[in-house]
Symmetry: C2
DNA sequence: GTAACTGCAAAATATTTGCATCCTT
DNA sequence: AAGGATGCAAATATTTTGCAGTTAC
Protein backbone atom coordinates (compact mmCIF):
# COMPACT_ATOMS: atom_id res chain seq x y z
CA UNK A 1 0.00 0.00 0.00
CA UNK A 2 2.69 2.39 1.03
CA UNK A 3 4.60 1.63 -2.11
CA UNK A 4 1.60 2.23 -4.30
CA UNK A 5 0.95 5.53 -2.61
CA UNK A 6 4.54 6.65 -2.92
CA UNK A 7 4.65 5.57 -6.49
CA UNK A 8 1.68 7.72 -7.35
CA UNK A 9 3.19 10.74 -5.68
CA UNK A 10 6.52 10.27 -7.41
CA UNK A 11 4.94 9.66 -10.74
CA UNK A 12 3.24 12.99 -10.41
CA UNK A 13 6.37 14.84 -9.39
CA UNK A 14 5.12 15.52 -5.90
CA UNK A 15 7.52 15.08 -3.07
CA UNK A 16 6.59 12.39 -0.61
CA UNK A 17 5.54 13.97 2.65
CA UNK A 18 3.60 12.77 5.66
CA UNK A 19 0.46 14.65 4.84
CA UNK A 20 0.34 13.61 1.23
CA UNK A 21 1.03 9.99 2.04
CA UNK A 22 -1.56 9.96 4.79
CA UNK A 23 -4.27 11.70 2.81
CA UNK A 24 -3.74 9.54 -0.22
CA UNK A 25 -3.95 6.46 1.98
CA UNK A 26 -7.24 7.71 3.33
CA UNK A 27 -8.62 7.73 -0.17
CA UNK A 28 -7.42 4.20 -0.79
CA UNK A 29 -8.83 2.98 2.48
CA UNK A 30 -12.24 4.50 2.07
CA UNK A 31 -14.76 2.98 -0.22
CA UNK A 32 -16.32 6.19 -1.31
CA UNK A 33 -15.54 9.81 -1.73
CA UNK A 34 -14.37 12.12 0.99
CA UNK A 35 -15.16 15.67 1.88
CA UNK A 36 -12.64 18.08 3.25
CA UNK A 37 -14.25 17.59 6.64
CA UNK A 38 -14.01 13.80 6.41
CA UNK A 39 -10.33 14.10 5.79
CA UNK A 40 -9.83 16.41 8.72
CA UNK A 41 -11.61 13.96 10.98
CA UNK A 42 -10.08 10.77 9.68
CA UNK A 43 -6.59 12.17 9.64
CA UNK A 44 -6.97 12.55 13.37
CA UNK A 45 -6.58 16.31 13.48
CA UNK A 46 -3.01 15.71 12.60
CA UNK A 47 -2.64 18.16 9.80
CA UNK A 48 -3.32 21.79 9.41
CA UNK A 49 -6.55 22.73 7.65
CA UNK A 50 -4.48 24.68 5.19
CA UNK A 51 -2.27 21.75 4.39
CA UNK A 52 -5.31 19.69 3.57
CA UNK A 53 -6.58 22.37 1.22
CA UNK A 54 -3.23 22.55 -0.49
CA UNK A 55 -2.81 18.83 -0.67
CA UNK A 56 -6.21 18.33 -2.23
CA UNK A 57 -5.50 21.14 -4.63
CA UNK A 58 -2.25 19.51 -5.67
CA UNK A 59 -3.93 16.14 -6.12
CA UNK A 60 -6.65 17.72 -8.21
CA UNK A 61 -4.17 19.48 -10.45
CA UNK A 62 -2.21 16.30 -11.01
CA UNK A 63 -5.34 14.34 -11.73
CA UNK A 64 -4.85 12.00 -8.78
CA UNK A 65 -8.29 12.81 -7.48
CA UNK A 66 -11.31 14.49 -8.97
CA UNK A 67 -14.19 16.25 -7.39
CA UNK A 68 -17.72 15.04 -7.51
CA UNK A 69 -20.67 17.30 -7.99
CA UNK A 70 -23.43 16.68 -5.49
CA UNK A 71 -26.93 18.00 -5.37
CA UNK A 72 -26.36 19.24 -1.85
CA UNK A 73 -23.38 21.20 -3.06
CA UNK A 74 -20.99 19.73 -0.63
CA UNK A 75 -17.51 19.26 -1.98
CA UNK A 76 -16.44 15.68 -2.40
CA UNK A 77 -13.24 14.20 -3.71
CA UNK A 78 -12.50 10.73 -4.97
CA UNK A 79 -9.58 8.88 -6.46
CA UNK A 80 -9.17 8.93 -10.17
CA UNK A 81 -8.60 5.73 -11.99
CA UNK A 82 -5.26 5.10 -13.62
CA UNK A 83 -6.26 6.44 -16.95
CA UNK A 84 -6.79 9.90 -15.60
CA UNK A 85 -4.14 12.18 -16.87
CA UNK A 86 -3.26 15.63 -15.74
CA UNK A 87 -6.22 17.91 -16.14
CA UNK A 88 -8.30 15.34 -17.92
CA UNK A 89 -10.42 12.83 -16.11
CA UNK A 90 -12.11 9.68 -17.22
CA UNK A 91 -14.28 9.08 -14.28
CA UNK A 92 -16.38 6.48 -15.83
CA UNK A 93 -18.68 5.30 -13.15
CA UNK A 94 -21.71 6.34 -11.21
CA UNK A 95 -21.50 7.93 -7.79
CA UNK A 96 -24.04 7.06 -5.18
CA UNK A 97 -24.81 9.19 -2.16
CA UNK A 98 -26.68 7.54 0.66
CA UNK A 99 -29.12 9.83 2.40
CA UNK A 100 -29.02 7.65 5.49
CA UNK A 101 -25.35 7.19 6.27
CA UNK A 102 -24.13 10.07 4.18
CA UNK A 103 -21.45 8.03 2.49
CA UNK A 104 -20.61 8.47 -1.13
CA UNK A 105 -19.82 5.32 -2.96
CA UNK A 106 -18.28 4.85 -6.36
CA UNK A 107 -20.28 2.20 -8.16
CA UNK A 108 -17.43 0.93 -10.27
CA UNK A 109 -19.58 -1.59 -12.04
CA UNK A 110 -22.33 0.74 -13.09
CA UNK A 111 -21.18 2.48 -16.18
CA UNK A 112 -22.28 5.91 -17.24
CA UNK A 113 -25.20 5.64 -19.63
CA UNK A 114 -24.74 7.43 -22.89
CA UNK A 115 -26.52 10.74 -23.20
CA UNK A 116 -27.81 12.04 -26.48
CA UNK A 117 -27.19 15.74 -26.64
CA UNK A 118 -28.91 18.24 -28.93
CA UNK A 119 -27.10 19.15 -32.12
CA UNK A 120 -24.08 21.33 -31.58
CA UNK A 121 -23.25 20.26 -28.08
CA UNK A 122 -19.98 18.47 -27.51
CA UNK A 123 -19.61 16.36 -24.43
CA UNK A 124 -16.27 15.93 -22.75
CA UNK A 125 -17.39 14.53 -19.44
CA UNK A 126 -20.54 13.07 -17.95
CA UNK A 127 -21.10 12.93 -14.22
CA UNK A 128 -23.91 10.87 -12.78
CA UNK A 129 -24.78 11.14 -9.13
CA UNK A 130 -27.55 8.99 -7.76
CA UNK A 131 -28.86 9.59 -4.29
CA UNK A 132 -31.03 7.33 -2.24
CA UNK A 133 -30.43 4.55 0.25
CA UNK A 134 -27.44 2.25 0.02
CA UNK A 135 -27.55 -1.47 0.55
CA UNK A 136 -26.18 -1.26 4.08
CA UNK A 137 -28.78 1.22 5.27
CA UNK A 138 -31.77 -0.42 3.72
CA UNK B 1 -44.53 37.96 -17.05
CA UNK B 2 -45.30 39.79 -13.88
CA UNK B 3 -48.52 37.90 -13.54
CA UNK B 4 -46.82 34.57 -13.99
CA UNK B 5 -44.26 35.44 -11.37
CA UNK B 6 -46.85 36.63 -8.91
CA UNK B 7 -48.92 33.58 -9.51
CA UNK B 8 -46.05 31.30 -8.66
CA UNK B 9 -45.36 33.15 -5.45
CA UNK B 10 -48.97 33.10 -4.39
CA UNK B 11 -49.41 29.49 -5.28
CA UNK B 12 -46.56 28.72 -2.94
CA UNK B 13 -47.92 30.80 -0.10
CA UNK B 14 -45.13 33.30 -0.28
CA UNK B 15 -45.99 36.94 0.03
CA UNK B 16 -45.23 38.99 -3.02
CA UNK B 17 -42.33 41.29 -2.28
CA UNK B 18 -39.95 43.26 -4.42
CA UNK B 19 -37.02 40.98 -3.90
CA UNK B 20 -38.92 37.80 -4.58
CA UNK B 21 -40.54 39.19 -7.67
CA UNK B 22 -37.26 40.54 -8.99
CA UNK B 23 -35.23 37.41 -8.29
CA UNK B 24 -37.84 35.15 -9.78
CA UNK B 25 -37.92 37.32 -12.88
CA UNK B 26 -34.19 36.98 -13.17
CA UNK B 27 -34.58 33.24 -13.38
CA UNK B 28 -37.21 33.54 -16.06
CA UNK B 29 -35.10 35.95 -18.05
CA UNK B 30 -31.92 33.94 -17.97
CA UNK B 31 -31.39 30.91 -20.14
CA UNK B 32 -29.28 28.96 -17.76
CA UNK B 33 -28.73 28.58 -14.09
CA UNK B 34 -27.68 31.33 -11.74
CA UNK B 35 -25.28 31.48 -8.87
CA UNK B 36 -25.78 33.57 -5.80
CA UNK B 37 -23.20 35.96 -7.20
CA UNK B 38 -24.97 36.22 -10.55
CA UNK B 39 -28.10 37.23 -8.77
CA UNK B 40 -26.35 39.86 -6.73
CA UNK B 41 -24.87 41.35 -9.86
CA UNK B 42 -27.94 41.17 -12.05
CA UNK B 43 -30.23 42.51 -9.38
CA UNK B 44 -28.15 45.65 -9.53
CA UNK B 45 -26.94 45.50 -5.95
CA UNK B 46 -30.44 46.35 -4.98
CA UNK B 47 -30.99 43.75 -2.33
CA UNK B 48 -29.18 42.73 0.75
CA UNK B 49 -26.97 39.67 0.47
CA UNK B 50 -28.93 38.13 3.29
CA UNK B 51 -32.23 38.68 1.57
CA UNK B 52 -30.93 36.84 -1.45
CA UNK B 53 -29.88 33.93 0.70
CA UNK B 54 -33.25 33.80 2.34
CA UNK B 55 -35.14 34.21 -0.88
CA UNK B 56 -33.25 31.39 -2.56
CA UNK B 57 -33.77 29.27 0.51
CA UNK B 58 -37.50 29.91 0.40
CA UNK B 59 -37.67 29.11 -3.30
CA UNK B 60 -35.75 25.90 -2.75
CA UNK B 61 -38.04 24.80 0.03
CA UNK B 62 -41.12 25.48 -2.02
CA UNK B 63 -39.68 23.67 -4.99
CA UNK B 64 -39.69 26.74 -7.20
CA UNK B 65 -36.01 26.33 -7.94
CA UNK B 66 -33.57 23.51 -7.49
CA UNK B 67 -29.85 23.48 -7.15
CA UNK B 68 -27.52 21.98 -9.64
CA UNK B 69 -24.43 20.03 -8.79
CA UNK B 70 -21.39 21.31 -10.61
CA UNK B 71 -17.97 19.84 -11.00
CA UNK B 72 -16.41 23.09 -9.88
CA UNK B 73 -18.51 23.02 -6.75
CA UNK B 74 -20.01 26.38 -7.20
CA UNK B 75 -23.63 26.62 -6.13
CA UNK B 76 -26.09 27.07 -8.96
CA UNK B 77 -29.84 27.42 -8.95
CA UNK B 78 -32.35 26.96 -11.72
CA UNK B 79 -36.09 27.06 -12.09
CA UNK B 80 -38.01 23.91 -11.49
CA UNK B 81 -40.57 22.76 -13.93
CA UNK B 82 -44.21 22.84 -12.95
CA UNK B 83 -44.30 19.33 -11.68
CA UNK B 84 -41.94 20.06 -8.84
CA UNK B 85 -43.77 19.97 -5.59
CA UNK B 86 -42.69 21.10 -2.20
CA UNK B 87 -39.63 19.26 -1.02
CA UNK B 88 -39.69 16.86 -3.89
CA UNK B 89 -38.18 17.68 -7.22
CA UNK B 90 -38.60 16.05 -10.52
CA UNK B 91 -35.66 17.57 -12.13
CA UNK B 92 -35.80 15.27 -14.99
CA UNK B 93 -33.34 16.67 -17.39
CA UNK B 94 -29.66 16.84 -18.00
CA UNK B 95 -27.58 19.84 -17.03
CA UNK B 96 -24.88 20.98 -19.35
CA UNK B 97 -21.90 23.06 -18.32
CA UNK B 98 -20.00 24.77 -21.09
CA UNK B 99 -16.29 24.95 -20.44
CA UNK B 100 -15.97 27.87 -22.84
CA UNK B 101 -18.58 30.35 -21.74
CA UNK B 102 -19.11 28.90 -18.31
CA UNK B 103 -22.87 28.87 -18.63
CA UNK B 104 -24.95 26.11 -17.19
CA UNK B 105 -27.87 25.12 -19.31
CA UNK B 106 -30.81 22.90 -18.54
CA UNK B 107 -31.33 20.57 -21.47
CA UNK B 108 -35.04 20.19 -21.01
CA UNK B 109 -35.40 17.75 -23.83
CA UNK B 110 -32.69 15.35 -22.82
CA UNK B 111 -34.13 13.04 -20.25
CA UNK B 112 -32.19 11.30 -17.56
CA UNK B 113 -31.18 7.84 -18.70
CA UNK B 114 -32.14 5.06 -16.36
CA UNK B 115 -29.36 3.70 -14.22
CA UNK B 116 -29.22 0.10 -13.13
CA UNK B 117 -28.01 -0.03 -9.57
CA UNK B 118 -26.57 -3.06 -7.79
CA UNK B 119 -28.92 -5.07 -5.65
CA UNK B 120 -29.96 -3.34 -2.45
CA UNK B 121 -29.52 0.21 -3.59
CA UNK B 122 -32.59 2.40 -3.75
CA UNK B 123 -32.49 5.44 -5.95
CA UNK B 124 -34.45 8.52 -5.10
CA UNK B 125 -32.79 11.00 -7.39
CA UNK B 126 -30.44 10.94 -10.34
CA UNK B 127 -28.41 13.94 -11.37
CA UNK B 128 -26.62 14.04 -14.67
CA UNK B 129 -24.18 16.80 -15.43
CA UNK B 130 -22.49 16.88 -18.80
CA UNK B 131 -19.65 19.24 -19.42
CA UNK B 132 -18.14 20.18 -22.73
CA UNK B 133 -18.77 22.84 -25.32
CA UNK B 134 -22.20 24.26 -25.97
CA UNK B 135 -23.63 24.94 -29.36
CA UNK B 136 -22.96 28.68 -29.18
CA UNK B 137 -19.29 28.29 -28.37
CA UNK B 138 -18.50 25.62 -30.87
C1' DG C 1 22.12 23.25 -0.51
C1' DT C 2 17.97 24.28 -2.76
C1' DA C 3 13.46 23.96 -3.83
C1' DA C 4 9.38 22.48 -2.19
C1' DC C 5 6.17 21.77 1.72
C1' DT C 6 4.16 22.86 6.21
C1' DG C 7 2.12 25.43 9.93
C1' DC C 8 0.77 29.58 11.91
C1' DA C 9 -1.36 34.01 11.57
C1' DA C 10 -4.24 36.78 9.27
C1' DA C 11 -6.91 38.30 5.41
C1' DA C 12 -10.60 37.63 2.35
C1' DT C 13 -15.10 35.23 1.39
C1' DA C 14 -19.15 33.06 2.23
C1' DT C 15 -23.03 31.82 5.13
C1' DT C 16 -26.03 32.07 9.23
C1' DT C 17 -28.47 34.24 13.05
C1' DG C 18 -30.79 37.88 16.00
C1' DC C 19 -33.44 41.66 16.19
C1' DA C 20 -35.76 46.00 15.26
C1' DT C 21 -38.33 47.96 11.51
C1' DC C 22 -41.18 47.83 7.52
C1' DC C 23 -44.37 45.75 4.23
C1' DT C 24 -48.00 42.44 2.64
C1' DT C 25 -52.27 40.64 3.37
C1' DA D 1 -53.64 44.65 13.15
C1' DA D 2 -50.71 40.52 12.67
C1' DG D 3 -47.49 37.83 10.60
C1' DG D 4 -44.08 37.62 7.61
C1' DA D 5 -40.06 39.76 5.13
C1' DT D 6 -36.28 42.88 5.03
C1' DG D 7 -31.95 45.14 6.32
C1' DC D 8 -28.40 45.86 9.34
C1' DA D 9 -24.98 44.17 12.53
C1' DA D 10 -22.54 40.62 14.09
C1' DA D 11 -21.39 35.82 14.76
C1' DT D 12 -19.70 31.59 12.22
C1' DA D 13 -17.70 29.05 8.80
C1' DT D 14 -14.91 28.46 4.78
C1' DT D 15 -11.12 29.33 1.77
C1' DT D 16 -6.97 31.90 0.43
C1' DT D 17 -2.56 34.19 1.07
C1' DG D 18 2.05 35.54 3.09
C1' DC D 19 5.85 34.23 5.35
C1' DA D 20 9.23 31.99 8.37
C1' DG D 21 10.76 27.62 9.59
C1' DT D 22 11.24 22.70 8.24
C1' DT D 23 11.76 18.72 5.26
C1' DA D 24 12.53 16.00 0.97
C1' DC D 25 15.66 15.10 -2.47
Amino acid sequence: MDEAVEHILKRNLLSVTDSRRKILELFFNSQGALSHGDIEKKAGEKFDRVTIYRTLQAFLEKGIIHNIPTAENSVLYALCKDDCTEGHHHDNHVHFICNECGNTICLENVSIPSVKLPKGFISSQVDVVVSGVCKDCK
